[in-house]
């Protein structure tokens, strides 16, 4: 990916990890640090929290001290495709409860084939139905692996 994303990414990921480190320290201090029987539940998290905070601060400071370097432009189209895939996956997971795995997965496949790869709708429908049916036959029926079931009963 492009330099610019990484460079500003260093800053924001550093800030996010510093916040996580701080959260870990605050939480760890609520648990026992050293007890009569040795270190408590807060001992180990406290120290890796401190390390996380220190290292992320280092990342942020080194980013801020770095001279600004002109990087390549962010390729939003590529990012968009990746995030579209993720959102489609999230939507299909959300549909598992009402519609079940088979229908949710078929819709996900249809979206990927028809929208992401711009294949003819007939091809998309064929791939979606065949894949979903294949999963049902192989996992649910042949291997006995349970799949999320919806109101339709599969």
């Amino acid at each position: 990916m492009e330099d610019r994303t990484r460079k500003s990414g260093d800053l924001w990921s550093g800030v996010a990890l510093a916040a996580l480190g701080l959260y870990i320290i605050v939480q760890a201090r609520q648990w026992e640090y050293l007890g009569p029987e040795g270190p408590g539940a807060g001992f180990f998290p406290f120290w890796y929290g401190v390390a996380m905070l220190g290292l992320s601060a280092l990342l942020v400071v080194s980013h801020l001290r770095r001279r600004s370097v002109r990087g390549n432009a962010i390729d939003w189209a590529r990012l968009g495709r990746a995030f579209s895939t993720w959102f489609a996956l999230a939507a299909s997971v959300a549909l598992f409860k009402p519609l079940g795995f088979v229908v949710g997965f078929a819709l996900l496949t249809y979206f990927i084939v028809a929208v992401m790869y711009r294949r003819p709708l007939k091809t998309a429908a064929l791939v979606a139905v065949a894949s979903a049916a294949g999963f049902y036959l192989v996992f649910d029926l042949a291997l006995g692996v349970p799949l999320p079931v919806g109101i339709l009963g599969f």
């Binding site: 994303t5 996380m52 894949s131």
Partner: protein, 502 residues
């Protein structure tokens, strides 16, 4: 004698029809996975791991190991025919393999890749068989401080060789340790980092994180582009795949070089098959009388790295099985698999489970023979896998990932976690955070914390116990030195070169 007896017993296990079948399934899947660009062994093993929970552990580990080393065979096919490595360990094979294919010598290139993989892969298993038992015996003297020091050293080595930025690699490892802490503390029954969610009380399943960070993230990265790559013509017939006698003569040193370097690099945590293949290629080029022709289609340039990346498997299993320390993302998943089946890899693994260890070793000899047979005459058939459209492949990977996660606990919550870790894995790739330290931190986190706390219980709270015992002091000093390497110009330049090649 002990080794010979163990090996004979191992063959008795590996030759059981069910185990032979799983070995075949593993190497076949491995070859297919190796051929498919964008789907690597860690993602595949992570996806299939939940499906092995109801299997006999011997058959399951034989199959998963088969995927691991089988992928190394398959990876060369795309490197040679498409100039696209099927997996990272086959990157260097593109240099001479693709050039050979362009000159009409794809057959001998594919043939020598299979032969070198077989020779070095077998040497790697031989090394595992000879080296693992004595190391396990030595490690019997280890106690909690030594284990803590050993895990710290393993993690430090992985951090060193995982990414260009040590800071980012360390942060990834710390996030792994944090994820490992989520759930109920087994010493005090305290709930940690559960955000009030009942589902998190038993912790976050390793499988969910591994599938998210490897498989889902890999699909997202691959989905960024819509293009398909062109395939060079695949030679047909065994005769066209066999290298000439002169080719074999040219590759004599490459076989030895690949075998030895691959095994040694594999045994070092963090080394990995990519570095092994590059080192082996570099050495081959350095000693070759026709070094200036490297990169233009020299057959040793294919044999050396392909041998090294196969021999590495045997080396990588040494620290995993004898010390319980994985050296890479893939071996971390294998460690999790063994733990999930109820085994504890470490010094007692071989004496307590000889059938499993020797069965695995014997199956690797058998698997290498199967792979040679599969990869020589059947290469044209496997190459057809490359014709599978991406729009069919990626939904299938997503589907297997979701089924794999759901089958572990039957929990929709785990599917939501899978989405979160998939996003995390993608962002880590985009922002140049390596994923191996995160997975290793997660795999070792609970063990590290337990070893540290037990050490401090032994010493009544004094950290001096970690440095007052010689083995632990040496290993901790090495861990610190390893992390200081980036501060030394020449050593850091070497590290960055190794990473650039990767």
């Amino acid at each position: 004698m002990e080794i010979l007896t163990g090996l004979l017993n191992g063959f008795a296990v590996a030759l059981e029809p069910a185990n032979l079948f799983w070995c075949f399934v593993g190497v076949l899947l491995g070859t297919v996975v190796g051929i498919l660009p964008g789907l690597g062994p860690p993602a595949t093993i992570a996806m299939l791991l939940p499906l092995t929970f109801n299997m006999n552990p011997a058959g399951a580990i034989i199959m998963l190991a088969g995927i691991y080393y089988g992928a190394k065979y398959g990876g060369s096919t795309t490197s040679i025919l498409m100039n696209v490595p099927g997996e990272s360990a086959s990157v260097v094979t593109c240099l001479d393999g693709y050039q050979m294919a362009k000159k009409g010598r794809a057959g001998p290139a594919l043939g020598i890749a299979a032969i070198a993989s077989f020779v070095a892969g077998t040497v790697g298993v031989l090394g595992l068989m000879l080296v693992a038992p004595p190391i396990a015996k030595f490690a019997l003297s280890f106690s909690s401080p030594e284990y803590f020091a050993l895990m710290s050293l393993g993690l430090a080595l992985v951090v060193l060789l995982a990414g260009r930025s040590i800071v980012k690699a360390l942060l990834a490892a710390l996030v792994g340790l944090w994820i490992a802490s989520v759930g109920t503390d087994l010493f005090s029954s305290t709930s940690r980092f559960t955000f009030g969610q009942m589902e998190l009380l038993s912790g976050i399943d390793f499988v969910v994180v591994a599938i998210g960070v490897f498989a889902l993230a890999e699909v997202m990265v691959n989905m960024e582009a819509r293009g398909e790559t062109q395939l060079l013509p695949v030679p047909k017939g065994l005769k066209n795949l066999l290298p000439t006698m002169q080719d074999l003569k040219d590759c004599r040193f490459a076989f030895l070089n690949g075998s030895v370097i691959g095994f040694l690099v594999g045994a070092l945590p963090g080394g990995g098959s990519t570095i092994a293949s590059f080192l082996s290629y570099g050495l081959e080029k350095a000693v070759s009388p026709r070094r200036e022709q490297f990169g233009t289609g020299v057959i040793e340039g294919v044999a050396a790295p392909e041998g090294a990346n196969n021999s590495e498997t045997g080396g990588a299993l040494v620290p995993l099985l004898t010390l319980g320390i994985p050296g890479s993302g893939t071996t971390a998943i294998l460690l999790a698999a063994l733990v999930l089946w109820g085994f504890k890899p470490g010094p007692l693994f071989i004496p307590e489970h000889p059938a499993l260890f020797w069965g695995l070793v014997a199956s690797m000899y058998i698997g290498n023979v199967m792979l040679l047979i599969l990869n020589l005459p059947l290469v044209p058939l496997f190459a057809q896998v490359l014709r599978m459209p991406a729009y069919v492949l990626y939904p299938l990977i997503l589907g297997v990932s979701m089924v794999g996660v759901y089958s572990v606990s039957g929990s929709m919550f785990d599917l939501l976690l899978l989405l979160a870790f998939g996003l995390l894995g993608y962002l880590m790739r985009k922002l140049d955070y390596p994923s191996a330290p995160l997975i290793l931190g997660l795999a070792l986190g609970a063990g590290m914390e337990r070893a540290l706390r037990q050490s401090l219980m032994m010493s009544e709270g004094s950290l001096a116990i970690l440095v007052s015992r010689p083995i632990s002091a040496v290993m901790l000093s090495l861990a610190v030195l390893v992390l200081l390497i980036p501060m030394f110009g020449k050593l850091n330049a070497w590290r960055l070169r190794a990473l650039e090649q990767e």
